[in-house]
């Protein structure tokens, strides 16, 4: 069963990553920066529990805040570029974050050994869960608590005026401006919310894998983040969840037995999914 709990943990954290990209994508901004906010959240939470002895809950709160703050800072310059240029700019940001952590050393001695992030070697021994007797099942439930909270919050947004305004901006910025929508406020706020969600996801990721390093937050992760809401469709949050399950559970795990053919089939199945359902699994509203 531990295998399935572990898989559920992965699906949960990836759903948070996908949801962080979903809210930004609603406004029409294709962001490859979500992995960067994820990384900020991961290192923040890890350092707080390992170096400062915090409990995981406030550490995740700090992850959310740091992710949000970073995203807010990215959100403003992001306004100045559109379309493909935004993709590149956010990609560059994500890589920048990765390289910061690649060079980041901050170790202190605890109980005879040195702990903390060590540049290229990464940040090992993030052992809050094992040290406090959490089982794989406990961790899974904990992760899903946050996933459900994030899904509920975004579901609520979707039904509120804020959600309608986000989507209006995504559809037609000119028309939105002309009816009084402040584009800056809307786009930066969406980026900030995405950053908070990614931050929490990162914090949880750091703790269930117990070891993070810069390569855990690379372009591939950033691409997966945006792929989930695209494959799942922007109609509602369940699309993103469905896409994560499809990719992680079905494609990654299900095809594991196929050896080298897996990569080929992986790509082919994604292409097939996009062709059959170009607007995503839970595509457009009818």
């Amino acid at each position: 069963m531990d295998f399935y709990y572990g898989l559920a943990q992965i699906v949960g954290v990836h759903t948070l990553l996908g949801l962080s990209a979903y809210v930004v994508l609603l406004t029409g901004q294709v962001s490859l920066a979500q992995a960067g906010f994820f990384a900020v959240g991961a290192y923040t939470a890890g350092m707080l529990t390992v170096l400062a002895g915090w409990h995981i809950a406030p550490a995740l709160g700090a992850s959310a805040l740091c992710g949000a703050a970073t995203a807010c800072a990215v959100g403003f310059p992001a306004l100045r570029v559109k379309g493909l240029m935004l993709v590149i700019a956010t990609l560059a940001f994500g890589e920048g974050v990765r390289l910061v952590f690649f060079n980041f050393d901050y170790q202190i001695a605890k109980g005879g050994i040195k702990v903390g992030p060590l540049g290229g070697e990464g940040f090992r021994q993030i052992r809050f869960f094992p040290e406090n007797g959490w089982t794989t099942f406990d961790v899974m439930l904990f992760i899903w608590l946050f996933v459900i909270a994030a899904m509920a919050a975004l579901w609520w947004f979707d039904r509120s005026r804020y959600g309608a305004v986000l989507r209006a901006v995504g559809e037609d910025e000119l028309a939105a401006q002309s009816v009084g929508v402040n584009l800056t406020a809307v786009k930066v706020s969406a980026m900030t919310v995405g950053g908070a969600i990614a931050g929490v996801g990162g914090g949880l990721y750091a703790h269930y894998t117990t070891h993070i390093e810069h390569s855990s937050f690379n372009v591939l992760v950033a691409t997966f983040a945006i792929a989930y809401p695209i494959v799942g469709g922007l109609s509602n949050v369940f699309g993103t969840l469905a896409a994560v399950i499809f990719v992680q559970a079905f494609l990654v795990e299900g095809l594991r037995d196929l050896g080298d053919w897996r990569n080929l089939l992986f790509g082919a199945l994604i292409v097939a999914a996009m062709n059959l359902r170009p607007h995503g699994f839970f595509g457009r509203r009818h």
């Binding site: 005026r161 309608a164 989507r167 559809e171 028309a175 401006q177 002309s178 009816v179």
Partner: protein, 247 residues
């Protein structure tokens, strides 16, 4: 209420509008006509804040609008409709109107959280009225993209009204309409005037312009060539030559 003083808007070498003077008094309905390319839509875009002026001033209630972004002009009370309808196609009719409730009155009436994260209930009354006025009652859950053309045009107008404008810029609202629809539009515009909204009507459909406006300004190649009552404009030889066809 609205004043354009020697407003010019150039796009590189093209003088879309050139030294345009226009005054619109509160409560008036002023028509803006002219051949295609005469600068009518550019004038609307400049008033709405989509482009800055190359020279000259746009004043609204005495205030120079220079550099005010479009959404802030909306809050002053300037709303516009688009010539090629720009609805939020993937949103419902209801949501299209809901998204537009950004006027200072709306902001004052409900708190920040209620306005942004509250449910639909708070806006129900007002939106129902807008739907009623525009003949869209019962269509609130339809996706805007699925509406018939005439309904889309009505929604475009309703959405501008949702912003509680004081000045409404209508950019060719009658394009593609049949006689009956034009009659209904004319009636709606007159009802809006009854509510105290000042209207600038950019239009090609003479049936509407002549029937509903107090005054008309005629543009040609970015310049005003005539201004007067509908009767005066219809008989003006310059206008006839440039636009209405034959002297």
């Amino acid at each position: 209420m609205l004043e354009l003083r020697a407003v010019s808007r150039h796009f590189g070498g093209v003088r879309a509008i050139d030294g345009l003077d226009l005054r619109v008094a509160e409560g008036e309905i002023v028509g803006l006509i002219g051949p295609n390319g005469s600068g009518k839509s550019t004038a609307v875009n400049v008033i709405a804040g989509l482009f800055p002026v190359t020279s000259g001033e746009v004043l609204f209630k005495g205030q120079n609008l220079e550099r005010l972004p479009t959404h802030r002009r909306l809050q002053l009370g300037i709303a516009r409709t688009f010539q090629n309808i720009r609805l939020f196609g993937q949103l419902s009719v209801w949501q299209n109107l809901w998204v537009a409730q950004n006027s200072p009155e709306d902001r004052a009436r409900r708190g920040f959280f209620a306005r942004w994260l509250g449910g639909q209930r708070g806006a129900r009354g007002e939106i129902a009225q807008l739907l009623e006025f525009s003949g869209l009652a019962g269509k609130q859950d339809e996706l805007a993209a699925n509406l018939a053309f005439g309904e889309q045009r009505r929604l475009e107008l309703a959405r501008a009204l949702a912003t509680k404008p004081k000045l409404l810029l209508l950019d060719e609202p009658a394009a593609g309409m049949n006689s009956e629809e034009i009659g209904q539009l004319r009636e709606r515009i007159q009802r809006l005037r009854g509510r105290g909204i000042t209207i600038v009507l950019v239009e090609h459909v003479m049936e509407l312009v002549m029937g509903v406006t107090d005054r008309i300004a005629v543009l040609n190649f970015g310049q005003k060539i005539a201004e007067g009552t509908p009767a005066q404009i219809q008989n003006d030889p310059l206008v006839k030559k440039a636009y209405l066809g034959g002297a």
